[in-house]
Each structure stands twice: as structure tokens, then as C-alpha cells.
């Protein structure tokens, strides 16, 4: 069965390491923060200028001057630091963030990603997404394997305007955990009860399938 949003977050959370500085994109990636393994500490970077993002405030902690990149009210975690947008993106662009998790519309076999614009619909802008994919060495894309019409989002080549070219190596979908290298997708793990055949069928780009594809365990 396809992974739920929370299961996707749980699986990605297993890629965390103690002491990681992590930037989580808006949407499902945000859920990863709820599943940090016991005894492990990670620090969340919010690109509007906060390292060490805490949970939403309680009513009496509300501070309009303290928001995250999704414009939500937040708090600071212990050991946080606050800085300008230029410093924040220096940190991101300079590769100092250990892991970036973000959503996407499409990913292709060359590691290109499209995540910010669907022509014909309103252009909202890329925000910090282009900087994030250009700056990070370690990025996990978190998205559904196919769109709501059943069209594959893992493509031979992205159709939509790119967020970044050749920068993605890891994708977790609701069906599979996929690595990208040598111009191909590589199937690494599959959702419990989902067949390799189904995954391959729903993957438009070339997918290399090893002899054994373990199920993701929960």
C-alpha cells in the first residue's frame, strides 16, 4: 500500500543523523520534524533567518516578529541563532546545511527538479527553492510517485520549468525510495505491499531494479 504522508516523513527521518542541521520545505517535508528518532538532536534552519526553529508558540508566546519561511508563527529552540536573509542563504548556498528535504512536481533521471511553477497557472515564485537545491549536497525530494491523474512524476526529462539542473540524488515517494545516478533511477526500497512492477510501471524515466528490493519497514 502506498505510504501515508506520515509514513513518508518517518522514512525520511531515518536519514537524519545526530547533530544535523536540516532545512525542511513547506508541506510534507515539515512533518519530518515530528519523527526525529529518539535520543537524536537535529536543528531546523528556516531560510528567512533562523537556525534552531522551535514548535509553534502557545497563545502567550505569540510573537509577530518570529516566523518561519512558511510565514507561520514559531518559537526558537535552545541554542538558536537569528540572522539576515543574506547570511541565511550564505549558509545554504555555501553547503553548510546537512540535509534539505523538499517537495517537487517532477524529477528526472538526470537529477533535475521542477518544483516551483506550472505555466498557465499563477506564478507564485520560487522563493528559496532554487538556492536550496543549488546549495545542498544532500537533498531528499519528497513527493507522490504520480500526480492525481496518474501521470508519473519521475521522468526521462522534466517538462516543467526547472528549479535546478542535475542536483537531486534521492527521492522518496509514496511508493518507493529511489536514487538517481548515471542518468537513471535506481529502485532502492518499496512501500510495504507495493510490487516492483507497479513502481516500474508508474515510473516514466528509466528505472534500474536490483534483484532484491526490500520493503520499507515500520
Amino acid at each position: 500500500m502506498a505510504l501515508s504522508r506520515d509514513q513518508m516523513a518517518i522514512r525520511v527521518a531515518r536519514e537524519l543523523q545526530d547533530g544535523y542541521y536540516v532545512n525542511l520545505g513547506i508541506g510534507i517535508p515539515t512533518l519530518v520534524a515530528n519523527h526525529v528518532p529518539e535520543g537524536m538532536e537535529v536543528m531546523l534552519q528556516s531560510e528567512n533567518g533562523l537556525l534552531g526553529m522551535g514548535p509553534f508558540p502557545t497563545e502567550d508566546q505569540i510573537d509577530p516578529d518570529l516566523i518561519n519561511a512558511g510565514k507561520q508563527l514559531v518559537t526558537t529552540a535552545k541554542g538558536a541563532s537569528i540572522f539576515s536573509s543574506a547570511e541565511s542563504f550564505a549558509m545554504i548556498r555555501g553547503g553548510h546545511v546537512d540535509l534539505t528535504v523538499l517537495g517537487a512536481f517532477e524529477v528526472d533521471v538526470n537529477g533535475s527538479i521542477a518544483s516551483w511553477m506550472i505555466p498557465g497557472k499563477l506564478i507564485k515564485g520560487m522563493g528559496g527553492a532554487m538556492d536550496l537545491v543549488a546549495g545542498a549536497d544532500n537533498i531528499i525530494v519528497l513527493m507522490t510517485h504520480a500526480d492525481k491523474y496518474g501521470n508519473s512524476k519521475l521522468l526521462p526529462q522534466c517538462n516543467l520549468p526547472l528549479t535546478g539542473a542535475g542536483c537531486i540524488t534521492q527521492v522518496l515517494t509514496d511508493l518507493a525510495y529511489v536514487e538517481i545516478r548515471d542518468g537513471k533511477f535506481h529502485l532502492v526500497e518499496r512501500a510495504p505491499g507495493v510490487s516492483v512492477e507497479e513502481i516500474v510501471e508508474k515510473t516514466a524515466g528509466e528505472m534500474v531494479v536490483p534483484d532484491h528490493v526490500p520493503e520499507i519497514q515500520f
Binding site: S46, E47, N48, G49, L50, P55, F56, P57, T58, E59, D60, I62, D63, P64, D65, L66, I67, N68, G70, K71, Q72, L73, V74, T76, I82, F83, S84, S85, A86, S88, F89, A90, I92, R93, S112, L122, I123, K124, G125, M126, G127, G128, A129, M130, D131, A134, G135, P161, L162, T163, G164, A165, G166
Partner: protein, 233 residues
């Protein structure tokens, strides 16, 4: 106003000299840390054909969004312009020009302008539409695009406290784009919640040195909240 005293007493004085067709760089992220009253003063002045450089364009009826109401903005340079219906209308009808710029590139373009750096290379946007027509160069086996600095006739920023000399500190994430914006305007107008006497701020913790600030005004702020995310206590 004499010596280093940057304080002006009215918003008219604060924005004096702003003319049709000028470029204004505005601090703020979303509607956090925005120069609310300076924006309202521009609305009041009715200045037209403005190019506004700011990460966002406020929301309907608040922040830079109010400048859309009388079509004062000709062009926006931003990284994210969602959450604004009037914006959408004017964009789709061709009344408003938009130049989308990645957020980190935008911040760095402002810093570069203030720092006398006309252009810099970044990997951000290489291989995308953003990189089209821009100079590409390879360093250590990776390709980068050349981005130019972006200067304003005016910059309008919001800080928390400043002394009369314009030495300023920002509060929490209301800092965001403000420090770079402050350096990137030919005339920098800063509004703050509190003006203190020189000597009251610790020199070690000044975020924006007064040298960047031309006019300083104390205001009161609504500080509207865009997404009121609250958890149980």
C-alpha cells in the same frame, strides 16, 4: 537635524524626494518586519510607476499590497508573490511586470549593491529559466551564472530600535532582508519602534551601523500576523 542625528519627525520628511519612476528596495519577509508606515506614506503620496524590490509584495490590503490598489507599482522584483489576489489580477492583465529572482540571489544582490560589488557568480538558477541570457562560467568543475547587484533610489527598512545616529538592531526574524536593503538604497529611510540616545546601544551588537541610514523615524506598528499557528499551552 545636525551632525549624525538622522531623526525626522514626519513621514512626509521621511519619504521626501521620492518621485514617479523611481526604484524602491523594501525590507521585510512576508509581512514580518516590513516598514508599514513608510509604505503607507508612499500610498498617500500616490507616487506612480515604481519599481519595487522586495522579497514579497505584502498581502491584499496590507504591506506593499496597498500600493497595488492605485496601481503605483510598475514592476516588482521578488522571489515570491503568492497570497495576493490584486497582484494576480494586475499580473495577468499585464498592468504589472514581475521579475522573479531566487530568494538567496535577491538577498545577495542587495548586499552586493551596498558593498560595491557589481556582480557575483552563483550556482543558483544555473540550467533554469533564471540563468537564461546570463553569463555562465565554470569554477572547480561546476557551472555558475553571473548575477548583478541591485540598487535602489530609496530603501525603506524597519528595525526594532535605533539610536539617533541610525545605529540599529532588529528583533528576531523581523531582521530578514532589512540589513541588506538598508545598504542598497541611495537614500535609506528607516523606521523603528523606539529611538534611543547614542551610546545606549552596545557597539558590539549593532546590526546596521548608522553610516547606512539617512533618515530615521519612530512609528507605531500593527505587525499583522499572516499565519496564526498556535499550539495548545
Amino acid at each position: 537635524m545636525a551632525g549624525f542625528d538622522k531623526v525626522v519627525n514626519t513621514y512626509e520628511e521621511a519619504m521626501a524626494g521620492l518621485e514617479d519612476g523611481m526604484t524602491v528596495i523594501a525590507g521585510g519577509f512576508g509581512i514580518c518586519g516590513i516598514p508599514e508606515n513608510l509604505i503607507n506614506q508612499i500610498k498617500k503620496m500616490g507616487t506612480k510607476e515604481l519599481t519595487i524590490i522586495s522579497n514579497n509584495c505584502g498581502i491584499d490590503g496590507f504591506g506593499l499590497g496597498v500600493l497595488l490598489e492605485d496601481r503605483q507599482i510598475k514592476k516588482m522584483v521578488s522571489s515570491y508573490v503568492g497570497e495576493n489576489k490584486l497582484f494576480e489580477e494586475q499580473l495577468l492583465s499585464g498592468q504589472l511586470e514581475v521579475e522573479l529572482t531566487p530568494q538567496g540571489t535577491l538577498a545577495e544582490k542587495m548586499r552586493a549593491a551596498g558593498a560595491g560589488i557589481p556582480a557575483f557568480y552563483t550556482a543558483t538558477g544555473y540550467g533554469t529559466d533564471i540563468g537564461e541570457g546570463k553569463d555562465v562560467r565554470e569554477f572547480n568543475g561546476r557551472k555558475y551564472i553571473l548575477e548583478e547587484s541591485i540598487q535602489g533610489d530609496f530603501s525603506i527598512v524597519k528595525a526594532w530600535k535605533a539610536d539617533r545616529y541610525g545605529n540599529a538592531i532588529y528583533r528576531n526574524t523581523a531582521m530578514n532582508f532589512n540589513p541588506m536593503a538598508a545598504t542598497a538604497g541611495k537614500i535609506c529611510v528607516m523606521e523603528v519602534e523606539e529611538i534611543v540616545e547614542p551610546g545606549e546601544l552596545d557597539p558590539m551588537y549593532v546590526h546596521t551601523p548608522g553610516i547606512y541610514v539617512d533618515r530615521l523615524i519612530q512609528g507605531t506598528f500593527e505587525k499583522r500576523i499572516e499565519k496564526r499557528t498556535v499550539r495548545e499551552g
